[in-house]
Symmetry: C2
Subunit: 130 residues, 2 copies
Amino acid sequence: MEACPTGKHDHHNVYEAGCPCRSLLELLANKWTALAIGGLEAGPMRFGAIKKLLSGVSPKMLAQTLHRLEDSDLVTRTVYASVPAHVEYELTDLGRSVAEPLRSLRVWVERHLDEVVGHDRERDLSLLES
Amino acid sequence: MEACPTGKHDHHNVYEAGCPCRSLLELLANKWTALAIGGLEAGPMRFGAIKKLLSGVSPKMLAQTLHRLEDSDLVTRTVYASVPAHVEYELTDLGRSVAEPLRSLRVWVERHLDEVVGHDRERDLSLLES
DNA sequence: GTCTATTACTTACTAAAAGATACTGAGAGT
DNA sequence: ACTCTCAGTATCTTTTAGTAAGTAATAGAC
């Protein structure tokens, strides 16, 4: 009951292992999700355009990410029966509302990266060889 | 240059695959990170207390998460040479500043979970039979 | 009619990460 | 000597991410 340091919201608690919101947090607290939703903030985009924007994403991961977002009603997928296939992804109202926290996270990363330098210094913690 | 829909911040861009801020985004856009930092918002905590709060986390994942946060200067780790070992984790100023976007994400999840129902309905997509 | 091009994905495979569980070390107390 | 706590490790299994190649549909060039 009082285990949630963020206070009570509705009747869900991300700190409870069994709560379904745990899996929603897993979906959203994710690199590709944060980038994809951020890209779609600007308006509807096609698969290829999102793929280009999120440099480094594989078509597999992008399709998986977008399908999950669609299943969660954060994104809509519209197929236009045009010549070479044409598919557009667009944020729903719900998706637009989650875009804000995700944007603030991306912005934080870009603005504070320089204060985090030294994070790539690999300190070997124990199991290199036996 | 103009590929970032969130606008320009400093000279980093999470949408560039090679940018070091990509790996920082990976660290932060993560379930356990979001929960651990949220827990530490209330003040310093011991390993065992964090483990209890983040129900379901394995000691391995928690230790890994906390070490990474320490390496990124988001968290400090203090060992008290007391009888049964006593280790405290605490947010740095930098850590406190990232706690805000992460909190808003957790809060969003708890408040909007009910609007996302139906996300586990497995829809077979396209090629079951020809 | 075959050949090439485009778009939006799958499929199959491998590497890496996450997760589960058991165990360790340093004392302090009994 | 044995047990207990705390803060992790070590080891093993499972799941996920990543890589590379292939597929389907159709349009237009030759």
